[in-house]
């Protein structure tokens, strides 16, 4: 650890440190968006781990503070794995199927940030 010599340096350290605590502070936010990735045997076999990694990476890159990524079990649509669900408070669930690493990044950029659904790959919706 070296000495912090100015307010700017302190702010820089805060931004870096936030990377490790944001998982917890976002978890405490009741209005956050939750992205669930199917991580049962079927999901993992189809590549859910990579998808999850891409989602987390993208959220950190864009410094989104109100999005949590979680694992979930099998939803019974094993043929469409990896499945990614976006739960937005008050706006139900959008379920995407056959999600690739690239698509995962698109979900963050288009759906989460810009608010545009990726209609072509939606495999289910819940109110």
């Amino acid at each position: 650890m070296s000495k912090i010599k100015s307010l700017d340096e302190l702010k820089k350290i805060r931004e870096e440190a936030k990377n490790s605590t944001s998982l917890r502070t976002t978890g405490e936010n009741p209005d956050r968006v939750v992205i669930k990735v199917g991580m049962a045997t079927c999901g993992i076999a189809a590549g859910a781990r990579v998808v999850m990694g891409a989602l987390i990476d993208e959220i950190a890159r864009l410094q989104l503070e109100n999005v949590s990524v979680m694992a979930t079990g099998c939803v019974g649509m094993c043929y469409a794995e990896p499945i990614v669900e976006v739960h937005t408070p008050g706006r139900g669930v959008i379920r995407y199927g056959n999600v690739s690493e690239k698509l995962a990044r698109d979900i963050i950029e288009k759906h989460i940030v810009a608010g545009e659904l990726l209609e072509d790959v939606i495999v289910g919706r819940e109110a």
Binding site: K3, I4, I13, K18, S22, G73
Partner: protein, 597 residues
């Protein structure tokens, strides 16, 4: 870059450490490794979550799932199910005592619902041994703000405007104290933190220091800037080893970052903090006795005035505040006085931390807005009385406080209202009593404590309290007289009026308040030699109800002094002259044939 997708938090407070949190932590780490999740999930130790009753507690982020009573054996289950497969383990969640439903998120639990966390904002979220965690949650921003944007006058004014009052018990306006010390002319001033916390059953300050030590260090530095001091001392009892350890780690980390020490953030302001370990005398929590103790002399209170703000440590102007008071300072600086005033009441803005204990379902540490009703704490947060017994009294303020009865349970908590019903805020102990607690006995218990802790300087406190104790002792042993009641009251008032320090001035409170609200219990003891709560052993009598006894001999075999006689299948009898009233027979009898009166 590797990023953990899950954090598993485990409470590392004294309460949970005592309930084997260390073993759980090791088991979680091992299981994460075994299941190949070391790069995805991280185990983090934090401060107290408050719900000590349910410990050890484990919290999983980002899902925000709250597991209770976790044992080493459960670690594998949590990792295999929740971490690997994303399936939270329902059996380990908190279950509502009334309908048995499982609740996964802590904010849905009644225990947390009425709570507002300002002083405990970081407890249970950050790792107290990592300064970066604290900085990530705006740590040291308040210090940076006052040093770069505010004058000492403005800093003090912000605290005055916030209406923050001392959480150590007396409720003196913190800003006013700072202002007096700031204006005092001297070449040297001090900032002192009172972390003595000697009330039996209290652990608010300890939890803050264990869970978020930097919040106190930062606030002390801010106080130093405001009053013009560059040295701080934390007086902490040696019986709090974990808090001492975490404070030492925090101080050295802050020094390494240059957030304590010389020329902080290049602003020219310097501030150092050191610890002073106390030997655990209650009277040393009194501010002037504390200062004497730091100076290495006897821990006896000084005559006030002069107040510490004028002549404090080494006779220099000194600000002395309680741990929880300091814990409120940084949020006030960061968010402004107006923000702080939105919580609590007009005269008592903000929150208060209480250590909830006794005959209540949810024991733990709670932070509630000032002005909340006592009944809300007991019934909503505390979940009501244990084993469906009847509420009798709420004790606040520890040995200096009083016992509040049912009719006053609807008052809204402030320093003033508690005093108006014969109790006080104190540092935040809150003990719930039920029908099995004898109020005379409780008063005697607290008096025993203050007697032991009196420094002996004043006759009213040293001798007067001894007399009070002797009368209470007589009453609980069936030797009481009706005249005692008036004598207790008169002597109590004299002690309050004539003692030098707060210890003596408040010591009779437990007696006076129980006399006022539970006088009938005193009279019952004196007139009928009966203890209604069946707690005073000397007034108890155990005897066999002949109609119910089947002569099983169990009681006779369990009686430690063999004073029960009777043959098999014959009604038994207890020899009253030899009975020691241990209650063994009462517990053991399968037919409820032994009566207790």
């Amino acid at each position: 870059m590797d990023r953990f997708r899950m954090h598993i938090l485990i409470c590392g407070g004294t309460g949970c450490k005592a309930s084997e949190a260390d073993g759980v932590k090791a088991a979680l780490r091992l299981s994460i490794e075994k299941n190949g999740m070391s790069r995805e999930a991280q185990v983090v130790t934090t401060g107290c979550f408050g719900f000590c009753e349910q410990g050890p507690i484990v919290k999983v982020y980002p899902d925000n799932v709250f597991y209770v009573h976790v044992t080493e054996k459960d670690a594998d289950l949590i990792v295999k199910e929740h971490v690997v497969k994303g399936r939270p383990v329902e059996s380990l969640m908190f279950h509502d005592a009334n309908d048995g439903a499982s609740i996964s998120e802590h904010r849905s639990m009644p225990f947390y619902q009425s709570q507002v966390r300002i002083a405990l904002r970081n407890c249970g979220i950050i790792d107290p041994e990592k300064i970066d965690d604290y900085i990530a949650l705006d740590g040291y921003q308040a210090l940076a703000k006052v040093l770069t944007e505010m004058t000492p006058e403005e800093t003090t004014k912000e605290i005055i405007d916030s209406g923050l009052r001392g959480r150590g018990g007396a409720g003196f306006p913190t800003g006013v104290k700072w202002e007096t010390t700031r204006k005092a002319q001297d070449d040297k001033k001090y900032v002192v933190c009172n972390a003595d916390e000697g009330d039996p059953g209290a652990f608010m300050d300890r939890s803050i220091l264990e869970g978020d030590p930097h919040s106190v260090l930062e606030a002390m530095a801010i106080a130093g800037y405001a009053i013009g001091a560059n040295e701080g001392v934390i007086y902490i009892r040696a019986e709090y080893p974990l808090a001492v350890e975490r404070l030492n780690i925090a101080i050295s980390q802050a020094e390494e970052y240059g957030l304590l020490g010389e020329d902080i953030l290049g602003t020219g302001f310097s501030f150092k903090i050191r610890l002073n370990l106390g030997a655990g005398a209650f009277v040393c929590g009194e501010e002037t006795a504390l200062l004497n103790s730091i100076q290495g002399t006897r821990g006896e209170p000084r005559v006030k005035p002069p107040f510490p703000a004028q002549k404090g440590l080494w006779d220099k102007p000194t600000v002395i505040n309680n741990v929880e008071t300091y814990a409120n300072v940084c949020p006030i600086i960061n968010n402004g006085a107006e923000w702080f005033r939105k919580t609590g009441t007009d005269k008592c803005p903000g929150t208060k931390v209480f250590a909830l204990a006794g005959k209540i379902n949810n024991v733990g540490l709670v932070e509630v807005p000032m002005g909340i009703k006592l009944s809300d704490i007991v019934y909503k947060i505390g979940g009501g009385i244990r084993n469906a017994k009847k509420f009798k009294s709420l004790q606040t303020g520890g040995p200096s406080g009083g016992c509040i009865s049912t009719e006053n349970l609807d008052i809204e908590i402030t320093y003033e209202t508690l005093q108006s019903v014969g109790s006080m805020m104190g540092s935040g102990g809150m003990i719930v009593m039920d029908e099995d607690d004898c109020m005379v006995n409780i008063a005697k218990y607290y008096l025993d404590f203050t007697l032991e802790e009196s420094c002996g300087k004043c006759t009213p406190c040293r001798v007067g309290n001894t007399r009070l104790y002797e009368m209470l002792d007589d009453i609980t042993k069936g030797r009481g007289k009706m005249e005692y009641l008036d004598e207790l009251e008169q002597l109590g008032e004299v002690i309050k009026d004539c003692s030098l320090c707060g210890l003596g001035q408040t010591a009779p409170n437990p007696v006076l308040s129980t006399l006022k609200y539970f006088r009938d219990e005193y009279e019952e003891h004196i007139l009928h030699k009966r203890c209604p709560a069946k707690a005073c052993k000397d007034l108890l009598r155990f005897f066999v109800i002949p109609e119910k006894c089947i002569g099983c001999t169990l009681c006779a075999r369990n009686c430690p002094v063999s004073c029960i006689s009777g043959d098999r299948k014959v009604v038994h009898e207890i020899d009253q002259s030899r009975c020691i009233k241990c209650g063994e027979c009462f517990e053991k009898c399968p037919k409820e044939a032994i009566a207790r009166e």
